[in-house]
């Protein structure tokens, strides 16, 4: 027996629930309600199989700093009181019925919010054996709030979209490569091998995020016009107040010096 054998339930034995479809009456009622909403909305939260990061952010949203309750958004412990159902986590096989029960339990018209990367599409668990994908595999979703997890500000923005208070910013984009488009060369005036050595050393010292900025400044000093390369690098080091950056720039200068001494620019 191979080690790769896994004991998952075969597809033929799994009940694939059909997606819930809204009838026209409910759609009309929902549109009418959203058009003229005059009261606070209550939220019920269903965790369908996430890592609990989304729950922590939802609770961060109702703390005084972001204070979702100032808009009347309130967390409720029962789906029967809920206007908005927030589904976090990927739609897993074992949570599909509880998810459906919560949906059926909430009175119409209700909004369904898919929360977090897992709720939207399955996120990092999208190809897991027990994951069906996002909430939209089972329920009609009104708003998708991506993020892993969404920050409290993202959450408030998502609820504002759900209630029609704000417009959405992100739209589907399809870009096509322009005719005869060229990718610009980075630091064209610096010899390629020297550039690579400097980038590697900076990355080793400062990691990818900060090394990029440090290399940018270093290359700026290297390619400064009208000044000697070494004196401009020395000036960069002398003017840097942060001792950590001074050390990194000094290391980069050592690379430059050794390259120049070897004549292998």
């Amino acid at each position: 027996m191979s080690l790769r054998k896994t004991y998952q339930v075969p597809e033929s034995l799994q009940a694939r629930l059909d997606k819930v479809e809204l009838d026209d009456k409910i759609v009309a009622a929902k549109a009418a309600l959203l058009n003229d909403i005059k009261r606070s909305v209550y939220i019920y939260r269903v965790d369908c199989g996430g890592c609990n990061g989304c729950e922590i952010e939802i609770f961060a949203t109702i703390t005084p700093v972001f204070d979702a309750e100032r808009f009347g958004i309130k967390n409720t412990p029962s789906p029967r009181h809920a206007d908005i159902l927030v589904y976090t986590g990927a739609m897993t096989r074992s949570m599909r019925l509880p998810a459906l029960r919560a949906y059926e339990g909430a009175p119409d018209p209700k909004l369904v919010v898919s929360y977090g990367a897992c709720g939207c599409t399955g996120g990092i668990f999208h190809d897991n054996y027990c994951v069906w994908g996002g909430t939209d595999q089972l329920l009609p979703v009104d708003v998708y709030i991506p993020g892993c997890p969404p920050s409290p500000a993202q959450t408030i923005y998502g609820f504002a979209i759900a209630l029609g208070l704000l417009g959405q910013k992100l739209h589907e984009t399809n870009i096509v490569e322009g005719a005869d488009e060229h990718a610009p060369l980075l630091y064209e005036n610096v010899p390629y091998r020297l550039r690579v050595e400097i980038e590697r050393e900076a990355r080793r010292m400062a990691g990818y995020r900060y090394s990029e900025k440090l290399v940018d400044r270093f290359m700026g000093a290297l390619t400064a016009e009208g000044v000697d390369v070494f004196s401009s690098v020395d000036a960069l080091i002398a003017n840097e107040p942060d001792p950590r950056k001074v050390e990194i720039f000094s290391e980069l200068k050592d690379v430059l010096v050794s390259k120049a001494a070897g004549g292998r620019l």
């Binding site: 979209i161 589907e172 870009i175 490569e177 488009e181 990718a183 610009p184």
Partner: protein, 183 residues
């Protein structure tokens, strides 16, 4: 009582004004990955690195295109794409307002042309990637190996292998002939 009131006054209002005022964000925030379609060479390093496969490449050999796509609904904002990008064409910016009503709005695609092999005519790599390699190689003059690589940039790996085999056979034949002549 007075002490409490004084503390309240001293602390002030802790609640942020968002969404009525823009939220204060920091430059190192890991928000939406912004893709620079012009700087991108469609090398696919980000698609390989992406842990949840939010970034994917789809190659269509018939049409001669490769489609880079990102699904913001699947992105976990880890920044691995930014780390591996050789041209800094993708970086996580401070944009965070990503919620949408339609799922398709979370998807961004970018279509790139493929380079056809100059010998057999098969598509083998993104055109921009080959173009970038040639320009990079031509910035290092004086090295015969580099010059040869630049010349063969638009030849596909299969044809390169065939050329090598043909050259090796020719050299072998010449060697055998020379040996036969000696004998």
């Amino acid at each position: 009582m007075l002490k409490t009131l004084r503390n309240i006054l001293k602390t002030g209002d802790a609640t942020v004004k968002y969404p009525f005022a823009p939220l204060h964000t920091w430059p190192d925030m890991r928000g939406k990955p912004e893709h620079d379609a012009v700087a991108c060479i469609a090398c696919g390093a980000c698609a390989v690195a992406c842990p949840p496969n939010a970034i994917q490449m789809q190659t269509d050999l018939k049409a001669g295109t490769t489609i880079w796509s990102i699904d913001y609904g699947r992105c976990i904002f880890c920044g691995r794409c930014e780390e591996v990008c050789p041209l800094s064409a993708i970086s996580l910016e401070s944009e965070f307002e990503l919620a949408v009503m339609r799922k398709d709005d979370l998807i961004e695609t970018c279509t790139y042309q493929l380079q056809a092999c100059s010998e057999c005519g098969e598509y083998f790599a993104p055109r921009k990637e080959v173009d970038y390699a040639v320009r990079l190689l031509s910035s290092m003059p004086g090295n015969p190996e580099v010059e040869e690589a630049a010349q063969l940039a638009s030849v596909c790996p299969t044809c390169k292998r065939r050329r090598d085999a043909v050259a090796a056979k020719a050299a072998d034949d010449a060697h055998a002939k020379a040996k036969g002549g000696e004998a």
